[in-house]
Amino acid sequence: MTQVFAYIVHKDGVADDTTLELIAAAKKLQADAQVTAIVTGSGSDLDAVCTEAAASYNEVLKIDNENMAYPNAEIIRALLLKIIPADGILLVPHTTFGMDLAPGLSVKLDAAFVADVVDFEGLDGSNLKLVRQEYSGQVSTHVSCDISSGAVINIRPGAFAPDESKAASGSVVDKSSEAQGLTAKRSYLETVVAEVGDVDITKSDVLVSVGRGIEDEDNIEIAQELAEAMGADVSCSRPIVDSKWLEKSRQVGTSGQTVKPKVYIACGISGSFQHLGGIKGSPFMVAINKNPKAPIFQVADVGVVADILEFIPEFADKIKDMQ
């Protein structure tokens, strides 16, 4: 049987949510899989993470080295090359770290690589069938992957329901000696925390959120008018910030803010997973989009197929008339 490994992301002594998602993914991959967790880091925080991981994994490899206090993908890649066997399968969360680490690692391991996997649909010999998405989630694909010489598979956070059984009571094995003498041509300096803007959208109850469908900077105004009429705040998706039409602090998504409103009105937003990943707490979601096939309609509570440039002003006028 192929050995399955999972790379554990953690912060401040707490394992990331993806820890329980990767074990769920591993079991979907192979029902009786013996799964080894790999925990890298430095200092006393590491033991708490290892104990937490051992509740769900058969085995936990602990690698404690001051070189790994911050996960530098280049150093972790060199370490994993020494740990993962030739035909092993490594599951990595498809986070900004996973994206940095995994493609190059697969080359060095001479293993197959599949990014941003949302589901497994069976293993037939050395042929693994997976599900992923293309074009920002507008279409899905079945993908086959030849795992005969191993595989590195990046798993989309949130795609697999966490396995909460915690029935493994695995052993923790110290592999810190493997981390000796690893060097990198890239070095971590510091993390610059995003600036807080004039409005803190993470505290907003109602958000009017605009995406590409707004088409032009001058049109942002109509969303502001709607938000004002509703007593809401304006947020947005990534392309709006990339175009510098709104400040970064108003961006909802994995690379922006995580919001927990009661009501979320998505205007001209297609609904990529990076955007949806920033919306928590199951708000009542209204989607307005002129593309009836936009993925946002699959997750929204209520949908309107319309051009937001025509619909939003009418909607705002109606609310103003009532007041």
Binding site: T95, F113, A115, T141, F297, D301
Partner: protein, 263 residues
Amino acid sequence: MEILVCVKRVPDTAENEIEVNNDGSDISRDDLVYSVNEWDNYAVEEAIQIRDNVGGTVTVISVGDDESEEVLRREMAMGADKGILLSDDAFNGSDGKGLASILKAEVEKGKYDLIMAGAQADAGAGQVGGMLAAMLDLPYASLVNKVEVIDDKKLKVGREVEGGNVEMNDIELPCVLSIQTGINEPRYVGIRGIRKVASVEIPVRSASDLGISPDTVGDAGSKVKVLDYFVPDLGEGAEMLEGSTEEIVEKLVELLKAKGGIK
């Protein structure tokens, strides 16, 4: 600084609704509007700005068919100095590793200080830059949204990480960077700019020019293959409001009042 930027011609998702074709073998490609991958356009802009600051040349490169030439020309109209097209029927159906190995073959013929690619393209894998770096044994940083040239041996780069935070790193040259959108404001390319580069020759290299054995790339050399396309089913789906705009607005107002969305 000698800079190489990898670009790809893709369906423009801002201009098209992407749909699955009749037999699910591909997306429906009739009447699609193609353009340069958005991430790559930011990478080219960044390369041009670096060159304008420190000198050197910017070369744009693409793996694709004849039509990818128009994308290379567009990026040359932006300001890239040279274009190279890697094109061969044997390249069709290459997975990420196949594409990276095709690019590697050409990169090794030149001497580049900095290689850039978009952080992702149409398939959303974000893999070619990291694979190319590993094949060339060069350091790599992904999702870069800030580049500062320290000297001819080192860059300072910011990576966009979760929560909009920026992870700052020193990275030695030569290196490979994957560029995130928003790093700059790509310049506008007008018709006149395109005309200016219309007659510039863009060399085309085949598998044999590159010394690539056809069975190591393309469909034959791929471990990862797309089997079919389908429409994702993410949930029950929204209740769609129908009727005249006035009727829809009325219903929406009622719903939002009930949910506390209108104060």
